[in-house]
């Protein structure tokens, strides 16, 4: 790194909040200097968009522990910063770090930002961490993103609690493990969770 770049890095470091500095310091001894500087730059850029540093640094640490090279670590951190930024935009400035992490996972899984915006608009004061995490998990299990999103929205509209959402997700996962198609499993479990509300089945089944 030449003197000019080092100067820029020092200026950026000086402008970085103490919490962000502390987070980036966790990388000391875990990644090489170049990777650390690149991650710090991503963290700084993300911070301007209201994205917390901790999940980004955790991602870098995960990569380091798994033996990934610097380029792959930086790419993963950069991608996560993008996901968290989109979640931040959709969930608003009041979103908690936990909500952003779950929202970022949902966005990465394929849930549209409009769904996150709808959730926040409907539930401006409740934590959306669990609903968003459930959406992300369902999509990871093969449930179509729109089906997963609408399932969670319908359940929340019916007043289910976080623990019930987690139980719903587990039921769908068990059905899938038994060979049920993912979208069908979510629809069937949603019907089961909402007796008498079959008309709210979130996604119409399709032909095979």
């Amino acid at each position: 790194m030449n003197a000019r770049l080092l100067g820029v890095a020092l200026v950026l470091a000086a402008a970085r909040p103490a919490t962000a500095v502390a987070q980036v310091e966790r990388l000391a001894g875990r990644v090489d200097d170049a990777t650390r500087a690149a991650v710090a730059a991503v963290v700084d850029s993300a911070r301007e968009a209201g994205v917390p540093a901790e999940p980004l640094v955790n991602k870098a640490l995960e990569g380091a522990s798994k033996g990934a090279d610097g380029a792959r670590i930086v790419a993963a951190v950069h991608a996560l910063a993008g996901d968290l930024g989109r979640a931040r935009s959709a969930l608003g400035p009041g979103a908690s770090p936990a909500e952003l992490v779950a929202g970022g996972a949902a966005v990465r899984a394929g849930v549209r930002g409009a769904v996150l915006e709808e959730l926040r608009a409907r539930y401006p004061r409740e934590s959306l961490m669990v609903p968003l995490a459930v959406m992300a998990d369902l999509v990871a299990r093969g449930v179509p993103a729109d089906t997963a999103a609408r399932s969670v929205l319908v359940l929340m509209r019916e007043g289910v609690r976080d623990a019930e959402l987690v139980a719903f997700r587990q039921s769908v996962e068990r059905d899938i493990a038994l060979g049920a198609p993912a979208g069908g499993a979510a629809a069937v479990r949603l019907d089961g969770a909402l007796p008498g509300t079959t008309s709210t089945t979130p996604a119409a089944p399709r032909k095979p």
Partner: protein
């Protein structure tokens, strides 16, 4: 029928073990062409057309068979399935005979990953004149996109036959990865002249988390014009985690070209079971306990000497879990509400995801467990 099916194995037993119709070595080939209406659970009903070629070589004690099914739905999507089976009987030991069976199958359906399985079984048959009973274990594996799960089970059955038909009752218990199920089936077959009627009634019970289900079907085979037969089948069948088929209802009618007219086959749609990133023995199973308002992560790994964990909450540094009674290992610091990523390692093995938690790609070429604490 490209599904693993205890009744198929029993049909072989009825034919050869009893020696009622001594089998000279012969080769049989057949082709089914059929039109179906299928309604898989979670899907809309759909028309489908299928072609199912089959080939078998039979000697007095040994059978080798292959069967495939190519199924095209209204949507243009298609499924392709194949199954190879081999079975042989020992010489008679008084009223007893031992049967060894092996089968390998694969299936694929557009939009889903490929699915394959291999199973072997041993059976001890006790044979009377018009009756028989058998029992034995089966063992194998199921593969899906590079990940596998062990399959194990035990099955037992009894049958009676008379000149115009046979009645068979089968019980089986099969475990595939962390999925286990039991089936009880009754099957009757009756024939008169060129008409053969076969019916099955079954119930699936003891499915962890999956409830119970009943199923059954009726099939007709009406021979005419030499090697040509009319086939018709209708019914409902359960999902099969071994072969990857999903539950569904169906009606099928078509023609069979074969010098003989074995029981009608039904169309199946192969849908893979979810990938398993690790077996319980390799990475344990994770649960969460609540203590003082915090979540305590518990990994059950019976027989393990050391269990380590790394994740967001350890700075992705490996930490040893504290051993407890009954093979339960705890991450003592409780976790507040949040979404956490982590991996577990048992006895210095590879970092993996324990059963019981959601998994996701980790962007570094592996998998990571995702724990949500409400």
């Amino acid at each position: 029928m490209p599904r693993r099916s205890p009744r198929r194995l029993l049909a072989l037993a009825v034919c050869c073990a009893a020696g009622a119709r001594p089998c000279a070595a012969q080769v049989e080939a057949g082709l089914d062409a059929a039109a179906s209406y299928v309604r898989y659970e979670g899907f809309l009903g759909s028309g489908a057309a299928s072609l199912s070629p089959s080939l078998a070589w039979r000697s007095p004690r040994t059978t080798l068979a292959a069967r495939g099914t190519f199924l095209v739905f209204e949507s243009g999507n298609a499924s392709l399935q194949g199954l190879l089976t081999a079975g042989t009987f020992s010489p008679a030991l008084g009223p007893l005979r031992v049967e060894a069976q092996a089968e390998a199958g694969a299936s694929s359906y557009v939009g889903f990953a490929h699915f394959a399985h291999a199973l072997g079984s041993l059976r001890l048959h006790a044979l009377g004149g018009r009756w028989g009973a058998w029992a034995g274990p089966l063992l194998g594996s199921v593969a899906h996109e590079g990940s596998g799960a062990g399959a194990a089970g035990v099955a037992a059955g009894a049958w009676m036959r008379w000149p115009a038909g046979a009645l068979e009752v089968i019980w089986s218990r099969v475990t595939v990865g962390d999925t286990a199920y039991s089936d009880v089936q009754a099957r009757a077959r009756w024939h008169a002249g060129a008409l053969e009627v076969e019916g099955t009634l079954g119930a699936r019970t003891a499915i962890p988390g999956g409830g119970a289900s009943a199923y059954g079907d009726v099939s007709l085979v009406l021979g005419f014009a030499g090697p040509v037969a009319l086939i018709a089948t209708a019914g409902r069948y359960p999902g099969d985690p071994v072969s990857g088929s999903i539950p569904g209802r169906y009606v099928t009618a078509g023609l069979r070209l074969s010098p003989r007219h074995p029981a009608a086959a039904r169309p199946t749609l192969a849908v893979p079971a979810p990938a398993r990133t690790a077996t319980p023995a390799a990475s344990g199973a994770a649960t969460v306990e609540e203590r003082d308002g915090l979540a305590v992560l518990v990994v059950t790994a019976g027989g393990a000497r050391r269990v380590e964990l790394m994740g967001d909450f350890t700075g992705w540094q490996a930490v040893d879990l504290a051993p407890g009674a009954d093979g339960r290992w705890r991450y003592a610091p409780g976790l507040p509400a949040g979404m956490y990523r982590f991996n577990v390692r048992v006895d210095g093995g590879p970092w993996a995801v324990p059963d019981g938690v959601a998994t996701a790609a980790d962007e570094f070429g592996g998998r990571v467990g995702v724990l949500v604490v409400p």
